[in-house]
Subunit: 138 residues, 4 copies
């Protein structure tokens, strides 16, 4: 029973005929959950840096990205009633904030902030998963 991510295991037991690409959906939910966690922890790590003054933009974007990823994972996961316009616009917003946060974190990651490097990767993965989900819905 413990095989696969929690999203895969939950989607495999859904009572409705999910009329979409289950694999893209499971990956998107997993990526949103991981990115939300990474960004929450990265904002906290940035706040703990000596050079916090230089991390202000990064903290703000990480907090934004965590909130949008968390909401997107919830909304896109609710498939019993699913509104295509709502999913599409929200996935677009999620991809946008993951792009902005990933760009910012990547820069700091290159300058030795390891938490930013890990977080940047989570943002890239989530942006990619949201864009694939958008393609699957098109």
């Amino acid at each position: 029973m413990a095989q696969g991510t929690i999203a895969e295991r939950m989607l495999a037991t859904h009572p409705r005929d999910l009329n979409l690409d289950r694999e893209a959906l499971a990956r998107c939910l997993q990526a949103c959950a991981e990115c939300a966690q990474a960004c929450t922890l990265c904002a906290d790590a940035c706040l703990g840096e000596q050079s916090v003054q230089e991390m202000i933009t990064c903290i703000g974007l990480c907090l934004d990205c965590a909130d949008v990823c968390a909401a997107t994972g919830r909304v896109v996961g609710r498939q019993t009633q699913a509104d295509a316009t709502v999913m599409t616009t929200l996935l677009g917003a999620c991809a946008a904030v993951c792009r902005a946060c990933g760009d910012e974190c990547e820069q700091h990651g290159r300058h030795g902030m390891k938490h930013c490097a890990v977080c940047a990767q989570a943002c890239r993965d989530c942006e990619d998963a949201c864009r694939r989900m958008l393609e699957a819905l098109a």
Copy 2:
């Protein structure tokens, strides 16, 4: 000190020069907070109805709307670092879910579901506040 909404009072004390329409912003934050609350309570009220089977779509949309409004209020309120693309795409998604949820709740409101009538109004107000915020940002 207790004059105005909490959003107005907080924005009036922000240390940065908020380079945007403060009134539109305060209204948007207040509308997002109220709509998130209304939708959370409407989903619960729908779940308590005898005719819950007919309320499935409404429950799902209310849960979605609550999540997106909550995230939008947080992100749009963070003005120390603010990303125009993130705000714009998210406000668009918020307006979309408020429209969908408002349409659904309005229908039930017309058929006597009073909580849906109150919630529909909150959705309309929030959609309008998001669209005005989008105009203010344009």
Copy 3:
């Protein structure tokens, strides 16, 4: 229809017999929503201060308080099925974080940070509303 807070108007239309003090509940939901908003905006305002290095604890507590107040408002508002132990322990946690955040913000408020003064008041109100709700449930 526009009289009262959104919480009061929504609770007045709930289909179930809410077997508790509706006034205390409406006040608690309203206080949680306002405190969540105040703390989100206060964390952002603190992040915008020149003296951000001195605001680290305040930012962290405001982020925590916003998250707990938001969750408490959602859970305590869900009355169709309500678990007394869940409500009680969560209201206790909410009062605790409001106390900690209110103490921290009050200090900064006394030293001229106006956003902290407004936020401290929201924390005090929310702590009080949670404690009254706990009494009403006892």
Copy 4:
């Protein structure tokens, strides 16, 4: 770089001396994230069941559990400033809602609702992880 959970990888790069059991913390954050996801998806799956009328309590508890687990994961993960009373009371509330939701889902799982069986396991794991974290903090 892709070894370990996202929580483990992020905590390994935190700039501060985390004065606590990092393993218990990483497990707790991971369990909160998985339980929040499972409960969000279980509430939706329950809503999609023919027998939705019998799932009302389960839906309500799953929504509560998702909200509390999400907030707990965020708050307990913020270690730059960490308040022991806040963490302790919130972990207690999280364990309580995981117990209540796990009990409810386990019952439905025994009667053939597979999503409830998966969700019950996530609730048990999260309750256990919260209790171990409480022991680690004691």
